[in-house]
Symmetry: C2
Subunit: 201 residues, 2 copies
């Protein structure tokens, strides 16, 4: 380990890099070296971009998206259809749907799905704000764009019950989404088809 | 892309993360989100560790290692055998050999290997300093711990010629190193055996 052969600064950088998703201890060492070699071209700008992100990125209190403004860019976009809400598990799903170009409405990020295994209960999700947003007079439809996993579908059923007293139509993505698949890994075409062919829940 | 739906700060962070080895555009987006979610636990310390690394890490003028001091910790370690130099392609190989615990001498990092394809010529490598270091009276042996690739072996032959006029023995790693393999991916045991069984070049 560099612990003994280099200063603690490199060791600390490697340890933190190893905690990033997608990087293990070995690839973290390689990444650290690459960063050090590309100090001006990559390490310095990345350190600065992280510092800026750290300082300026906030969670939108309206929808749960991450952005540098609250409300977020999407919530402030008045060209978006105010009568539809697209409910997603995570910001990565919001990004995936935005890439598909199929959503012209706003989102609601749950911050997870119900999971007995992981101990995630309704009160751990961004649900009370969802009911509020679904209750405004102009709201007509809530699209549940949740992963086609057991937990995702359990959550979809739970939300359908939660909104049953409201005059909104609750829909789900068409079964273009492969069973067991995760939204973030799908291509734009599949996501577009799934949005277009959404069915009543 | 978040470009349109979030501030440019997130987009910039993703773009820079995508340039790290081991992360593509998709995993860079996931990594960015994870970092944002773990702002206090990961993003802030990582930003700071990168800033510190950026400011303090230097290349050792003696051996080419990276460290926060010049000469580096290894070059300043007077318990190391001054009669042997271990020549490596890259700092990652130095780290791999240090993990094996089989080296009690100092290193010389070439910063690459000769490559017609990549246009890497002798003047692009840290060779003149190697000749100087191999020329000191106490030097007895230069171990060429280069990758068992065509370019690595070409470079080993080149260095052997370069040092032929000196009274040093030039050795290479034993053939515990798999043909075509790269040092940085080998386990500590194989590296130890390769160091112990080194043969005359
Ligand atoms: Zn928002
Ligand atoms: Zn050194």
């Amino acid at each position: 380990m560099p612990q003994a052969v280099a200063g603690p600064e490199i060791e600390r950088l490697i340890q933190l890099l190893a905690r990033m998703p997608g990087l293990g201890p070995r690839s973290a060492r390689r990444a650290a070296l690459q960063l050090i070699k590309k100090r001006e071209a990559l390490l310095a700008p990345l350190a600065e971009a992280m510092r800026v992100a750290c300082e300026r990125i906030v969670v939108c209190h309206e929808c749960g998206n991450v952005d540098t403004s609250d409300p977020c860019t999407i919530c402030r976009d008045h060209s978006r259809d105010p009568s539809i809400l697209v409910v997603v598990e995570d910001v990565s799903d919001l990004w995936a749907l935005e890439r598909s170009g199929a959503v012209t409405a706003r989102y609601h990020v749950l911050g997870g799905v119900l999971s007995a295994l992981d101990g995630i209960r309704p009160e751990n999700l961004n649900l009370s704000r969802l009911v509020e947003r679904a209750s405004v007079p102009e709201m007509r439809e809530v699209i549940l764009a949740l992963n086609a996993t057991v937990d995702g579908q359990t959550t979809a059923h739970y939300i359908t019950e939660l909104l049953a007293h409201l005059p909104v139509k609750v829909t789900k993505l068409a079964h273009g989404v492969p069973v067991g698949g995760e939204l973030d890994y799908l291509d734009e075409g599949t996501l577009s088809a799934a949005i277009r062919q959404r069915t009543a829940f």
